[in-house]
Amino acid sequence: MKRMANIDILPMACVGLILVLTMMILAPLVMTHTQTQVDVPKAHTSEIKTEENLTITYTIEGRLLVNDIEILPEELDQVVAEELARDPYQLVIVRADKDVLHNDVLEILASVKKVGAKRIACATKRPKDD
């Protein structure tokens, strides 16, 4: 009986598995910008958009971060404009702490709108009873 030559695909399967695991770990880190802990308000009607976005974080201490990089408030217009220049339809998410003043958040929203953001969302989390 003639023996058939076969290829050992086990190493390839192992490499594939490792790639899947690496992708699973890295994807949330690369695609989201929520490393800075902020206690966002709760809402029942929030929508989830799984797409690349520009995240502006405003903490209770008054720190302002764009995609987890801290910036000065006066730099916000320029930084957001640079990001939006690449994709004007990019979703802009404002993650503000629930205890900050709404007027401060309005200032951020107004700046974002002024530089041309088309889609803006306020980040929320779902209540646990949902």
Partner: protein
């Protein structure tokens, strides 16, 4: 000495059985697909703040203007209402409105959480568009 004849399978297994490995990989991929939306931020879409314009709008539609005061009071179309009353009136007003647009403005020292609570309520009661209004300084 008698030699023991070696038993041979008619069909020798060739290579390794990868079924279990493929199953694990597939389970991981499905788990990944299911859990990835949880990592993304959820949110309420809003129309970013505009400055209040003087004068009446050309389109006559039922207006839903909510103004939040620093002391916790709520004004619905210039009338003070409780939160409970707001939950009752909002669906009635939105049902009669064409655009189903809710405009929210606040005083200077209102906490962000209160605004999101009202936005969430408006959305639950059928608001189509949510707009935040910034008063002219």
């Amino acid at each position: 000495m008698r030699k023991r004849k070696r038993l041979r399978f008619e069909h020798e297994p060739q290579g390794l059985i990868l079924n279990s490995l493929v199953d694990i990989a597939l389970s991981l991929v499905i788990g990944f697909i299911v859990t990835i939306p949880l990592f993304f931020e959820s949110g309420i879409f809003v129309n970013a703040p505009g400055v209040a314009k003087a004068g009446a709008s050309d389109v006559s539609d039922i207006k839903v203007n909510i103004h939040l005061l620093d002391d916790g009071a709520i004004l619905l179309n210039e009338e003070i209402v409780t939160y409970q009353r707001l939950t009752e009136l909002l669906p009635e007003l939105l049902a009669r409105s064409v655009e189903r647009k809710v405009i929210i403005s606040t005083e200077a020292h209102v906490r962000y959480e209160r605004v999101i609570t009202v936005l969430d309520l408006a959305k639950q009661k059928g608001a189509g568009q949510l707009a935040l209004l910034r008063s002219r300084r």
